[in-house]
Symmetry: C2
Subunit: 245 residues, 2 copies
């Protein structure tokens, strides 16, 4: 990954228009989003073994379980009631409510469909150190940085629909041993992610009107891409048996 | 306030039964809850001036607006999905959702009924330093301490129904210049507070089974009583004109 886009300093620090900021945010995704990671590309091309997919699904749960935690941190750092009223829906979507299970439960169904028992996933015993560090870095970022930067970090969801629909189709095509009923998580995210991303993008474009804040938003999104990329790095290395390294 | 109840060391550090822990938690409230504060007693006896009530309602909003913030901090610190699913209702109750206003809005109606414009309340210009420090201390406590201690701190709600019903009746009796329609906040809390307190108490009694954690729970509740007491101290002093001090 290059850092060419991280601190653009090519126009004397003047603020960009919202359109230019959006273009630059989308360029971060085009360059750094984890759909370009070799492990993800192998997943989508049908080249992963059952063991690799199982390691991935158990490790990715570490990230999933942190989502309501980091969203609550954003809520806790945000003094604006209107923003909190919108943002809280993300926590409900992941944790669920009485009578409707949320995204965490759906991920456990996916893991079961991939042959990993929910107890194993929930216990975290298969979580690799690099995955834990990346996830912890994200949670700490959302706890300690201004809430608007954490909102900008969430903008990886702008790029989620593509990866999610590719993943759905790859699994249905290449990994037919996975029970299709277990794929509900992805189907739900196809509608939730765009709704969430649209709201977050509008907020970032509306609020980040100085160049300093625009740079912060871009840096936050780069950081978040690093988190997701690093997670796949760890799973990719973790999936190689020790004697093959 | 005495500190006699704060670190009971009269039985060699053995854990108490849940019944004994509950008795001790309730004893903290009986000794230290802010219903015993002179300013609160004057309020309930009908002795406060309009200016004193207005200062109180504007300052107490500083505490009210911190409630969803501190509850989101508890959510963010809590790795247990079931607890989060229950606790999130508190945030919704205060922030409201589309189509149903929450406790913050109800407090602004109360302030308006007491003759303080909502803009003045929201701006925070009338908030006294001692009030802000006490509220900030509470938010920091919930951000930095284990979530179960923050849950224990919330147990002042065990004692809320008495103070709230006394306050309702005092306002209706002694301060008839206050529009009764503005009292909805108190009416709503009469049902919400017991529900919240019952859940939190059950959690504390179930989880605090070592003496160390029982001491922590008692200390947290004492701390929270100090927060509420200190808030009234500041309002009481703030309401005295400078030349009368």
């Amino acid at each position: 990954m290059t850092s060419a886009l991280r601190t653009p300093r090519d126009d004397a620090g003047l603020p960009w228009s919202p359109e230019e900021l959006e273009r630059r945010l989308r360029a971060v995704g085009a360059a750094h989003y984890h759909n370009r990671h070799p492990f993800n590309q192998r997943m989508h091309e049908g080249e992963l073994s059952r063991a690799e997919l199982q390691l991935w699904v158990a490790n990715r749960y570490c990230y999933q379980q942190a989502i309501p935690i980091k969203d609550a941190a954003i809520l806790s750092n945000c003094p604006e009631q209107d923003v909190r009223r919108a943002w809280i829906q993300r926590i409900i979507d992941h944790d669920g409510r009485a009578g409707s299970e949320g995204g965490l439960e759906a991920w456990l169904h996916l893991a079961e469909a991939m042959g990993v028992a929910r107890d194993v996933v929930v216990s975290g015993t298969r979580v690799l150190p690099g995955v834990r560090f990346a996830v912890d870095a994200y949670v700490q970022f959302c706890r300690t940085q201004p809430w608007l930067e954490a909102v900008a970090a969430s903008l990886t969801e702008l790029f989620a629909p593509t990866i999610v629909s590719e993943r759905l189709s790859a699994i249905l095509t290449h990994y037919q041993w996975i029970e299709p009923a277990g794929l509900e998580y992805f189907r739900t995210r196809l509608t939730q992610a765009p709704r969430d991303a649209d709201y977050a993008l509008a907020l970032v474009l509306e609020r980040c009107v100085t160049r300093e804040w625009q740079d912060r938003a871009l840096a936050a999104l780069n950081f978040k891409c690093d988190v997701l990329w690093s997670l796949l790095d760890a799973v990719e290395r973790g999936a190689v048996p020790d004697d093959a390294r």
